[in-house]
Symmetry: C2
Subunit: 460 residues, 2 copies
């Protein structure tokens, strides 16, 4: 029903106010579908760099890779912007059931977790079927126990399933407050493979810092089944280290605008990744999609009026790149006319969300017609979220847009060792590039001020 409404909206909006531009954009879109740049960029990043957590030696290699790649693809003003990024690294990790049913478990430390003692920690477990049950537990409820939260994640096309589930990954201090000695969370995943899914956690102030890790999905269910039979004793070893003075880099390059080069559209993906996989869908894909889309535009005989700036963010997973950018570009914010990030894998775009006011402006209506052949609908709503790295820009008043991707499959893989080039669907990757290239061209070749207040209040 909602889909049909959108399609109707698309048809009504399709009044090409800037017909020449729409033509170029359509040609770009079709060229993008057959273009191999995104695949080549993604293949290169996963093959030549692989995992690249912010602050690691691999992240420095990724920076150099990005500088060289953007230059080779014809970007202007290619440079890296360093910022201080204290970082966390992983050491030896394992877990095993000691009794009554000794067997090994698949486990991965959460980013930011403290280490266990060198020989591990041993304790009985308490299994909770939801994170709400942790919050509902009284003081001392988990005294001396390893808390296991086995809350399944719902598969959804948008990120709502993830948003609902991921709070459990940040629950370590709630367990610690109630006396827990370690915290194990079911991987925030819709899959059933055994690779555990990592991700950041954090500690509340004035609460004991206890070790925190994610269990493989089957392992969390296994512990729940064991615990249903009686007491279960577990041994857990986590080792990690901190690099208090490490550096990260936002790498950027531009397709200079032909008429208003001072007006900038910021797009990109993040260059850092978690360590177990090769960072193909999170977020090599975003790097590849936005780089390829901008590059295709850069190859046009006439660049669009405004500048397109690709920023390859240096620390999304553990935060920092967005705020560093905000600080470094404070004086330029008024000139950033729009921003967006591609950070939900390589599966197809199904929806465009524009800054609220944009929909009311005739000059931008061709995008609906342009994106319809890609099966991308135009939402009536502005995006709530357009990527973690542009959140700072968004809060500072920069209008954001989003090309929402189908996330149904994304969280089977996200933050796990399974995040490799093998899971990327090349046709869907191309559809992303096509949507980005066509839309970006229109936005960049327009004069619309997305910050301007609309003449009337009602949504068309």
């Amino acid at each position: 029903m909602r889909r049909i409404l959108f399609f109707a909206a698309v048809a009504c909006l399709a009044v090409p106010a800037v017909a020449g531009d729409a033509h170029t954009a359509a040609a770009l879109r079709d060229r993008a579908l057959a273009d191999s740049t995104a695949w080549n960029v993604l293949e290169s990043l996963t093959t030549e760099i692989g995992p690249r957590p912010a602050g690691s030696p691999a992240a420095q290699r990724a920076r150099d890779w990005a500088l060289a790649k953007l230059r080779a693809l014809g970007f202007a003003n290619v440079h890296a912007e360093p910022f201080a990024k204290p970082s966390w690294g992983r050491g030896e990790e394992w877990a095993q059931v000691v009794r009554p049913y000794p067997q090994p478990l698949a486990v991965i430390g959460l980013g930011g977790s403290v280490s266990t003692p060198p020989r591990g920690i041993e304790a009985d477990i308490v299994v909770l079927k939801s994170y709400a049950a942790v919050l509902a537990a009284p003081a001392h409820a988990f005294k001396g126990k390893i808390v296991v939260v086995n809350q399944p994640m719902k598969r959804t096309r948008d990120v709502s399933g993830y948003s609902a589930a991921v709070v459990a990954r940040f629950g370590v201090s709630e367990a610690a407050k109630r006396g827990a000695v370690a915290y194990l969370v079911r991987s925030i995943s819709t899959g059933n493979t055994r690779e555990p899914h990592t991700g950041a956690t954090d500690y509340a102030p004035n609460t004991p810092k206890i070790p925190a890790a994610a269990l493989g999905v089957p392992d969390a269910d296994l512990l729940e089944r064991m615990a249903a039979r009686g007491p279960v004793r577990l041994r857990l070893k986590l080792a990690s280290f901190l690099r208090p003075t490490s550096t990260a880099w936002n790498v950027s390059g531009e397709i200079a605008g032909s008429a208003r080069p001072d007006q900038v559209i910021v797009i990109g993906g993040h260059l850092d990744s978690w360590d177990p996989g090769t960072g193909a869908i999170d977020d090599g894909a975003g790097v590849a999609i936005t780089t390829a889309a901008a590059r295709l535009i850069g190859q046009l005989p006439r660049h669009p009026r405004r500048t397109i700036r690709v920023v390859l963010w240096g620390s999304e997973e553990t935060g920092g790149s967005g705020s560093a950018y905000l600080t470094a570009h404070k004086g330029e914010l008024a000139k950033i006319v729009a921003a967006a990030e591609s950070d939900l894998g390589a599966d197809r775009v199904y929806r465009l969300e524009l800054p609220q006011d944009a929909l009311r402006r005739r000059a931008l209506k061709p995008q609906a017609r342009l994106l319809a052949p890609l099966k991308v609908l135009v939402s009536r709503n502005a995006p709530k979220h357009a990527g973690s790295d542009v959140e700072g820009l968004q809060k500072a008043g920069v209008p954001v847009f989003a090309l929402d991707q189908d996330a149904s499959r994304y969280f089977d893989i996200h933050h796990s060792a399974d995040d490799t080039l093998a899971v990327v669907d090349r046709a869907q990757l191309g559809q992303n590039v096509a949507a980005w290239a066509a839309l970006l061209y229109l936005l960049a070749d327009s004069d619309v001020d997305f910050r301007a207040k609309p003449a009337h209040k009602s949504v068309p």
Copy 2:
């Protein structure tokens, strides 16, 4: 086309020579579809024991588990038959690209592999796209190199894809003969997850024993892509140990025949498993399916005429249980009227293969009608293979039958950490039990001698 022929055959064969039996068998089949025994057995084995390689301490616990489970389910003559089983165990294992693109690789030692030196082995790699290319290489072709065989496996419903691919897992000596210092084979898998798939390998006599391991599917492709860019140097560590005097056990229990208890039908699955997963589909499923089917028959007010013996084999993965059984039961072979094994996971049965002569015997024709509602077709051919553990019996002249399972998904998971209860489809598991229960009842309640030569030569 072939399917239609089989359906036609089914219809023609459906002459209920033993109408009462067919009625009981149909009721059994329908009861089995709703019965939870197989699931409960599988849940129990994976939860309470987990991985259980032959010769390991866990295998001894699995033996005790099996004895207790068969007794609890009402089997008679429950006992364990020990046999000597020198065994192999896994230690620390890792691999990493040293240059030019340093990153870790997912790797698992092949069963039987020798260790590398304690600090690992470092060498350049040579990547071959097929195992045939290894065989075609001249002497000294791999001198000082780590050989990487990146031969993909074809997804097929039967085991033909596996049979064609698995030869590469046994290729270590062919590489060693040509000067290789280590052997890495792409996991024999149809999946794209990163967990590598282990399995046995072996060494030819008078050839240097070099370390051998499987790479995750994405890792094998990664190395191929790296090697396409230039020389690649890799470091590999494998540690393993041998238990020269360990013991394994075939555990068996019986549903005693009501008229000819001395005539025995041997069925079962194997109790041992590889170590990375919990042995759910390989072969907890076979254990569960055959145990549940026999138990349902055991609950009938009148047992079928012949004895049904469930044998839970103690060493399928690295061999030994079948030949031990043959030796221990040499004097009884003539009384074993038929044998079969369930060892291809928990996905549905699509075909029945009976001993060649059985199809010509009116008394057995009801099985076609019985199995049709389960979408199981009756093949005109006798099975070539009815399970590794009954191969010895088969060679010694015992007639074998097979309920062939759909293996399309099986090799995504087989021999990897992903082999857990999470991947088991409960409805398909139930369909297996229904097919086994109905068929077994007919075979056990019949007087047909499957060894007898047919009256005429042509297949009907």
